[in-house]
Symmetry: C2
Subunit: 422 residues, 2 copies
């Protein structure tokens, strides 16, 4: 299998991988812990919103009919019967010729059908027994009616949504102190390769420090998984297989980096030949990272990324993160994300047998999107990864794409809308 691989498209590889995965179970957590988690169920409004007729401003609740003909020159005078602060319940129903001094968010008194703002009355700062209105009002003016935003029972947030600050406001409003969320998947992380040193080890000739593990751990955590750092994989295939089996017991999925290529010591590549390991794919039509591999072993998935930092990063965006999001039950998790189209800012004419994913950044000019590929196109380039916001996808073939042509773009981070050259 090492040298004779069947190439499949990114889309087909994604489909094969994600179709193996099921959403994790559900748990109840306190709302204070819920930011960034995925809702396991639809959330319904437990009351009308607003829960009562209320004033949207500071002023006077009135009967619109009483205000007819009022103007700055000929103000209408009403008797003020009480003052209602937010949180209070009015005690006096408004009769003809009466007004209630009322604050933003306060409950309207019975009989009121309009609110005039302080600034449209005379001497608004003064508490007085009378108010003089400088304009007339229509019935219904400046009122928030009970349930006008959402009636009780409506779905206000959907299963599969990631809880953001706005979702928290909804949950708090409707009294959800406990929130049903999907359990976080545990993702085991293994790096392969005898050349790898720990972060705090001194460099020695021929070796490099392991940069993929901590990068992948951060990506997994951002996507909503729990990264579980595991010790490196042995070189020898039987020992490696035993170690994988042990690791898989404790996690919902395993991700490895390195060892997927055609080298003599590529232990992941050799595993694909084992009878009890199912190969989902081991060659994807993409650059970098075409030897990216996925296996099923002990009924769990192993997502095996390239060891090359750039290929590892791309593979994580295309395969690992959608897998984590699918396990997490995120609605938008079933693919690497929607692609968009943008005008290529600079010509890229290197030929490639497969679609090439160039890291880049987005800008806007006159309402048009532009994508600027990383100036350093080497797959292994590690030092520009932190600046990347998206991948510009250059179609396969000999001609690449010229500046000014539209290209497909896969966003992976929030754009800063600034072009930064490293």
């Amino acid at each position: 299998m090492r040298f004779h691989r069947q190439t499949i498209s990114v889309e087909e590889a994604t489909r094969r991988l994600l179709s193996e995965l099921e959403r994790q179970g559900e748990e109840q957590i306190a709302i204070y812990e819920a930011a960034g988690r995925i809702l396991a169920r639809d959330i319904t409004a437990t009351c009308d919103l607003p829960p009562f007729d209320r004033s949207p401003l500071d002023g006077f609740a009135v009967r619109a009919a009483d205000t007819a003909g009022a103007s700055a020159d000929r103000p209408v005078t009403l008797e003020v019967v009480e003052t209602i602060a937010a949180g209070e319940v009015p005690r006096i129903a408004l009769g003809p010729g009466k007004a209630t001094r009322i604050m933003t968010g306060a409950m309207l008194p019975e009989g009121a059908d309009a609110v005039i703002m302080f600034e449209q009355t005379e001497q608004p700062g003064q508490l007085a027994r009378e108010v003089r209105l400088k304009r007339s009002l229509r019935a219904g003016e400046n009122l928030s009616r009970r349930g006008e935003e959402v009636p009780a029972g409506s779905v206000v947030a959907k299963a599969g949504e990631r809880i953001n600050p706005g979702t928290l406001a909804i949950l708090a409003t409707f009294g959800y102190k406990w929130v049903p969320v999907v359990k976080k998947p545990r993702i085991g992380l293994l790096s392969t390769g005898p050349e790898l040193l720990g972060i705090d080890e001194p460099l020695v000739p021929g070796k490099i420090r392991n940069s993929n593990a901590i990068m992948l751990a951060a990506m997994i955590a951002e996507a909503g998984g729990i990264p579980v750092m595991l010790e490196g994989l042995p070189d020898e295939p039987a020992a490696a297989k035993a170690r994988l089996a042990a690791c898989l017991e404790d996690v919902d999925m395993l991700v490895t980096s390195g060892g997927v290529s055609v080298g003599d010591f590529d232990v992941i590549a050799s595993l694909a030949d084992e009878p009890d390991v199912a190969l989902l794919f081991n060659k994807v039509a993409m650059r970098p990272g075409s030897p990216t591999t996925a296996l099923r072993y002990q009924n769990k998935l192993i997502c095996a990324l390239s060891g090359n930092p750039g290929a590892c990063f791309l593979g994580a965006c295309l395969f690992l993160l959608p897998a984590v999001r699918t396990l997490s039950g995120e609605q938008t998790g079933a693919s690497p994300g929607p692609t968009i189209w943008a005008t290529l800012g600079e010509t890229y004419d290197k030929p490639c047998p497969y679609p090439r994913y160039l890291r880049g950044r987005l800008t806007e000019e006159g309402g048009r999107l532009y994508v600027w590929p990383d100036w350093n196109h080497k797959a292994g380039n590690l030092c520009t990864m932190s600046m990347s916001e998206c991948f510009a996808i250059i179609p396969p073939g000999g001609r690449g794409k010229q500046a000014g042509e539209l290209v497909e773009v896969l966003p992976h981070a929030m754009p800063s809308w600034e072009r930064v050259q490293v």
Copy 2:
């Protein structure tokens, strides 16, 4: 000051607020805790990258001169002198007619000036004393030279950058187990208003649950601050002032929601009249949230947002988050973020005396950006806040903007590039 306020622009308000703030001090943290933090210093490469000449693929290191004339029909035969795995140091320098079997990432032997991939040799899977090359190579082909990506001493990440997965890969590569970051600012959170209930309290007439505090706490945490939840503010101005003074001792900045308007019980508005409280602004040319206020008291800032959820959210995006980012030392923190231009998807023709910030979403069509305002334009609308990705800024005046016109857009979250109607 309550009714007679000086209106200033969003830009001027931002300038006044941020010019009061200084970056927090620095601390060293373990790389494992560093995701999302802001670098306090430039990070330099502690070695060349790559640290040695290496092979970017699995194959044979050769002397290009030896390969002249090789083809599939007339292969060139070289003697294989050793096999080098990644992490190993070659023992044998290549002489004429010799080759070294070499794996991806492994150190090149002395004398080699090109690498041929396995697939371009005969019987690549087989370990043998000879290799037959099916093509010729140029000197320098398929080599990664020491330092070609980054020479030692180069700045590879800058002070003020937020540490993302790519930054972590850089830090790990260069052995930064400890990372200099800016200390997280502590942001105190106070909600004002006797109408507010806790999340787990049952609704009673006239009252609503506090949804702003938890929303703001999540926004502060996302921006890199430590939200410090404080008890509500008393109604009575002297008691409120004493409480603010006590709260300010324990935090770097205070944010409040509610109490900024012209109501009789708007305690923040009344504070602006106190002689030992400096008013930075209390009226901003924007809708919603024009009474947004900023004060300096006890030599610290109080950012006082509207109580209305939509106005509170906008005020937080425009003022609070840039303040948190400035305290955190983030490079891009000095404004609410760059605005972009997008084609308005739907006409919005409601007149407004001030620029109106409509929550919305971005889409792309044919390489052009479109912005779709929230269908429910009421400022107080809480249930669509979770779907918002940006604000479309409708300029002041009577005509609004027509569908198809370009409008200025302030992004505040990563676009999903999907139009979702709630």
